[in-house]
Symmetry: C2
Subunit: 338 residues, 2 copies
């Protein structure tokens, strides 16, 4: 790693008006990313509109693949279909493309990166996939535990925020909660069912095996990132009425014996993790505290009643828009600065 | 069982002003329980107040152990300490006492009953314990699965409603959600942390092993009700911002091979269960639908990715005040009518 400052880069964000795109701008600034020029690309509909950013006032530009090709780093906060259509051409043009969609995550030729865990897998790839939010949040805790104790099985139940469905998801939660409290009709358009004071045990479409795609993403992506191709991972993904931090109850079986103290020691040294585990004082991971934070909170660490001294139960909470999306994408961009 | 109608009973509810006590009155009426006389007992503070009930207007009476002893059936919706002090005396006086607190649940001499599962264990007991809400809701599904396939291990993650903290819990959710939406300060007194748009991974006090008492209740009570003293059961209990239906993501390992279809067939025939499992149509258990219903909804039934053909994942949802409390208590009272 050079000790001199990295040269500033020309950075484009495609999908800049969405919840993730807006966070990407903020995260670049919060992490003092060396930005030479910032291009904010959006749909025709938004083009020409000016937005206030920490980098000054910017004008949104209609997406144009040739224009985007001129940047050094391109952060895609767009649909899988859109990414599939345009990402390869942009990467072929020489830019480093970091795609937040699931389009390329299961492509053996595309690295799927959580920098704290598998930065080494990035190589000199020009197209890098950013993982599913739930997976990214889980693996910053699971990775260090795997390194120290070996993972044999992982069972996850999620408590996922409405931000996973974008800004519209958060808006529907707020508006419809207000309607319910005011005795007005509650409608749902972003979510399949009303979300206020409810939960929905479905995120994304159902697969043939009865799991949703969201649940299978946790299985597939955890295996790829941790480089354990056959790791048994099972997930139940549930949307709950919170705004933007995902929580997960995780049970792991380990290959070596493990104690809660040993796990806490490992996690206390793990990058991207903050141990919040003083239960007697009411200190444990919660959306209330994890929201807006870069680190993933990990707590409720205890010996599994199922797997005994080869198992742990834990609870994690991370900001879905940050570690679950924008932060991880910017961290991948940072890897390219070295 | 006699074919003639059972003779009406004199029924007392102690703690009649609480969320559970009020539901007990409603459930007695909804199930056409043969009530000869209904006594509603409360604190000195509430005594003398009249309340509208489906049995007509009633005057609340200050609790008096001698007065209560005169009833045939006494439903206790009071604290564990209160139950511990008074339940044995009332039972000794000849009434059937059904206690909703945890005071006697772990007493080998006191049956812990979920009528669909272990009615046989009631015998001629005069003091019967009503289980923890989370456990009662889980075991109506787990019991039939155990009978058919044998349970080897059970892992539970809960999504628990604020009604578990009584009427005050539900009121705090509503009031503080309103405050948050109105930009006013959000305070918490019933819950340890603010509950609006948050979750709290703590219900009841922490035990030495790092689990909360609520979590251990699920372990201890599931074992007792299913009569599997050493069954490994692990729970993570989480409070979420919903009103009165608890949901639970459950993973089971079975002794015999099991398929989702076989499990669905067993559960379709199980009393107290309604199978809600047409995921492609968006049909699965949710608080929105389970609220106010007697049956526990069971769905998301699929082969476990951890335990393979010896395991299932499922999702259950039941009304915490009904199957989790008042309904189960009245069902126990019904057993005494035979």
């Amino acid at each position: 790693m050079s000790t001199s400052s990295p040269s500033p880069r020309r950075v484009a964000i495609v999908g800049a008006t969405g919840a993730v795109g807006r966070e990407m701008v903020d995260v670049l600034h919060r992490r003092s990313f060396p930005v030479a020029e910032l291009g904010l690309f959006a749909s025709e509909r938004s083009a020409g509109r000016t937005v206030e950013t920490p980098f000054g006032e910017k004008t949104l530009v209609a997406f144009d693949v040739e224009k985007v090709k001129g940047y050094d780093i391109v952060l895609l906060a767009v649909s899988g279909d859109f990414a599939k259509e345009h990402a390869p051409a942009i990467a072929a043009g020489g830019a480093l493309v970091i795609d937040n969609s699931s389009a390329f995550r299961y492509d053996d030729n595309v690295p799927l990166i959580v920098p704290e865990i598998n930065a080494h897998a990035m190589g000199d790839a020009k197209l890098v996939a950013n993982p599913n939010c739930t997976t990214a949040i889980a693996v910053v805790a699971l990775g260090p535990l795997h390194k120290a104790f070996g993972l044999r099985r992982v069972i996850v139940s999620t408590y996922q925020a409405t931000s996973g469905a974008g800004a519209e998801g958060m808006a529907e939660l707020e508006e419809q909660t207000r309607n319910q409290l005011d005795g007005k009709p509650v409608v749902n358009s972003v979510f399949r069912h009303p979300i206020p004071f409810n939960l929905i045990p479905q995120i994304d479409a159902f697969q043939e095996n009865g799991y949703t795609k969201e649940e299978m993403k946790v299985t597939w992506e955890t295996r790829k990132i941790l480089e354990i191709p056959d790791l048994p991972v099972s997930c139940t993904a549930v949307r709950i009425p919170t705004y933007r931090a995902h929580s997960e109850a995780i049970t792991v079986e380990t290959l070596s014996p493990v104690t809660p103290d040993a796990a806490r020691a490992v996690l206390a040294d793990a990058p991207g993790v903050v141990v919040k585990d003083v239960p007697a004082d009411g200190v444990y991971p919660m959306p209330l505290n994890a929201t807006g934070q870069f680190d993933v909170e990990v707590g409720r660490i205890r010996t599994s009643l199922i797997f005994g001294d080869h198992g742990l139960d834990l609870f994690v909470c991370g900001d879905q828009l940050l570690k679950g999306a924008a932060l991880n994408a910017v961290q991948i961009a940072e890897l390219s600065l070295n």
